[in-house]
């Protein structure tokens, strides 16, 4: 079993549209939407949910105001600025800032702080026209997106084992922080989607640094290349210089948005130039995947 993780550094370069196209072209995959705090893959794959589970992770400190003796030890010891005093003098924890470390809970001399388990979202196993999909929804503003990503990937592996499917397509989040690290760790190949802007080029370099940091092979596709063909060429030459592969270019156009509005991928909705370019990228990625060793052999 192999895993292709699609990331970008900068957001909005076309990760999800391209993953949906790959799913349609591959036909025999498991999809894993690992952009759990802004998940969109379900909008173009028409999933029928077969399993739905609550994601519980970590804890949340809650002061019982009636038992609080206002000693202030919780506020003093909290490293996350999550505790503050309200007008009545009682202390309260801001759930958005609490990291669930529990220090205030066992420090409280009046034992006035509860520490319930936190419900941080939901995850789903669904059926799509391209194969099974594991996806999730992090509760708005919740922590632990990295742990939810790891859970989605673990479930995707189980589904792939169960159904005898050889490839997992991971739609990753933007950035280089904890959910991105969880999305790419141990993958067979990291594919970064970029575009010819100074921002995307800068962010791509950091995303490829991250893949390299974890010893993962990487490849790059340039989307919207014709916005600035000269810069696209420079980016591709940077990529090859650092030992990563280039797998093709896709033109700027409205085909992706048009496909999105129809709830499908660009390779399903038209046979235009952009769809053909995406097919070529997929063929090149396929060759790299064939050559990549499965994660457990590396």
């Amino acid at each position: 079993m192999k895993e292709l993780a699609v990331i970008s550094g900068k957001g909005g370069t076309g990760k999800t549209s391209i993953v949906a196209s790959f799913a349609a072209l591959a036909g025999d995959v498991v999809l894993a939407d690992c952009d759990v705090d802004a998940a969109d893959l379900h909008l173009v794959t028409d999933p029928h949910t077969q399993r739905r589970e609550t994601f519980r992770c970590g804890h949340q400190a809650l002061v019982r105001a009636s038992d609080c003796i206002s000693c202030g030890l919780c506020e003093e010891r909290c490293r996350f600025d999550a505790v503050s005093r309200d007008e009545s003098g009682a202390f309260a924890v801001d759930p958005a800032a609490c990291e669930g470390c529990g220090v205030c809970v066992w420090s409280c001399s009046a034992e006035a702080i509860d520490f319930p388990e936190r419900t941080s979202g939901e995850w789903f196993v669904s059926r799509t026209r391209h194969g099974p999909m594991v996806h999730a929804r992090l509760s708005p503003g919740a922590e632990n997106s990295g742990k939810l990503v790891s859970l989605v990937r673990e479930q995707a592996r189980q589904v792939a084992d169960r159904d005898g499917r050889d490839l997992i397509l991971i739609d990753g989040p933007p950035g280089i922080g904890c959910p991105v690290i969880a999305s790419i760790s141990g993958a067979s190949l990291v594919l970064a989607i970029t575009e010819p802007t100074p921002s995307a080029r800068h962010d791509l370099a950091r995303a490829l640094d991250l893949a390299e940091h974890f010893g993962l092979p990487s490849a790059v596709a340039v989307n919207k290349f014709d916005l600035n063909s000269a810069l696209s060429e420079e980016i591709e030459s940077d990529v090859r210089e650092r030992g990563a592969s280039t797998v093709g270019r896709i033109a700027y156009g409205r085909a992706f948005t048009a496909a999105q509005r129809r709830g499908a991928s660009v390779v399903e909705t038209g046979d235009g130039r952009i769809a053909e370019q995406v097919r070529r990228v997929w063929r090149n990625v396929g060759r790299l995947l064939e050559a990549a060793s499965p994660p457990y052999e590396r």
């Binding site: 909005g12 705090d37 708005p140 999105q260």
Partner: protein
């Protein structure tokens, strides 16, 4: 006045709008600071081209063991909620899992754990013309972007307008960036992905007590669903930027579109005025609301 620029979906034009408002404010003689809180992928510097004057390392305090003092009691591993300490013969610390809460050090009965700073990134400060510039830059391989975002925000307070350029998404880094803003300006695209991520972001930020308003980027005829959402949620649209290939091309040349396209310059100038009025009005009409009390609460 603190204005956070956020989006849910990445690549909707947060930095373009945030930088545009900063430049427009500076031109109007308003003391303004721009804080890049997208510490995983900071891009504001590419448009503002600041002169960096100082750089400071930011870290978390992680435990270091003095084996001579350790009795192997295991209290440290017991209190750690992040499984960052495993108890073999002596405790073994996994720094990459540590959140720096300090619990283990407090729990150790023999003082065998002390704390050492583990660098996760830098905060850089400087000037871009008349705009005070601050950015955080997370080290590659580090996970705790909210810590660095809070460090960036602690440098605020050097202008009458503070612009917080946030990361995409709606989880802890995005919340850390927009928390305590007077106004959260959401930059949205009228596509199915754009609308879905806007809904997620609005839900995540709604409980924070800040006012929210919208900029629609790449606005075209396909916006009825987005408009309906704004009406339902009471979100005012402060600016619409047209879907124009010239803007995308200007961006690809690293130009600040506001400096290339006159119609955009006027739009951003209007946006700056509207932001100011918006915050004035909402404060005047709702002095007892969360925004007014939170404004002074710090990052």
């Amino acid at each position: 006045m603190r204005v956070a620029v956020a989006s849910g979906k990445g690549g909707t034009g947060k930095t373009t709008v945030a930088v545009g408002v900063a430049i427009s404010s500076a031109l109007a003689g308003i003391p303004v600071e721009y804080l890049d809180c997208d510490v995983e992928e900071p891009n504001g510097h590419l448009l503002l081209r600041p002169r960096i004057e100082s750089s400071r390392s930011v870290g978390i305090l992680v435990p270091v063991l003095d084996e001579d003092l350790c009795t192997g009691c295991g209290k440290c591993a017991e209190v750690c909620e992040y499984q960052a300490i495993a108890l073999l013969k002596a405790p073994l610390v996994f720094t990459e899992l540590c959140h720096g809460c300090g619990g283990c050090v407090l729990a150790c009965p023999t003082g065998a754990l002390r704390e050492e700073e583990h660098a996760i990134g830098v905060v850089e400060t400087g000037w871009a013309g008349d705009v005070r510039f601050v950015q955080g830059r997370l080290n590659v391989g580090e996970e705790l972007s909210p810590v660095l975002i809070r460090a960036v925000k602690k440098t605020a307070g050097h202008g009458s307008l503070t612009i917080l350029d946030g990361p995409p998404g709606a989880s802890c880094p995005a919340v850390a960036a927009v928390r305590d803003a007077d106004l959260i300006l959401l930059v949205a695209e009228p596509t199915p992905f754009g609308l879905s991520d806007l809904e997620t972001a609005a839900a995540a930020f709604r409980g924070l007590g800040s006012h929210m308003a919208l900029v629609i980027n790449r606005s075209d005829s396909g916006t009825p669903e987005l408009r309906r959402f704004c009406e339902d949620q009471g979100l005012e649209v402060l600016l619409e930027i047209p879907d124009d290939r010239r803007i995308a091309e200007a961006g690809s040349r690293g130009e600040v579109p506001v400096e290339t396209l006159p119609e955009l310059r006027d739009g951003l100038e209007q946006l700056r005025r509207r932001l100011h009025d918006f915050v004035e009005e909402t404060h005047a009409h709702a002095p007892d609301q969360a925004v007014a009390t939170r404004a002074g609460a710090g990052p």
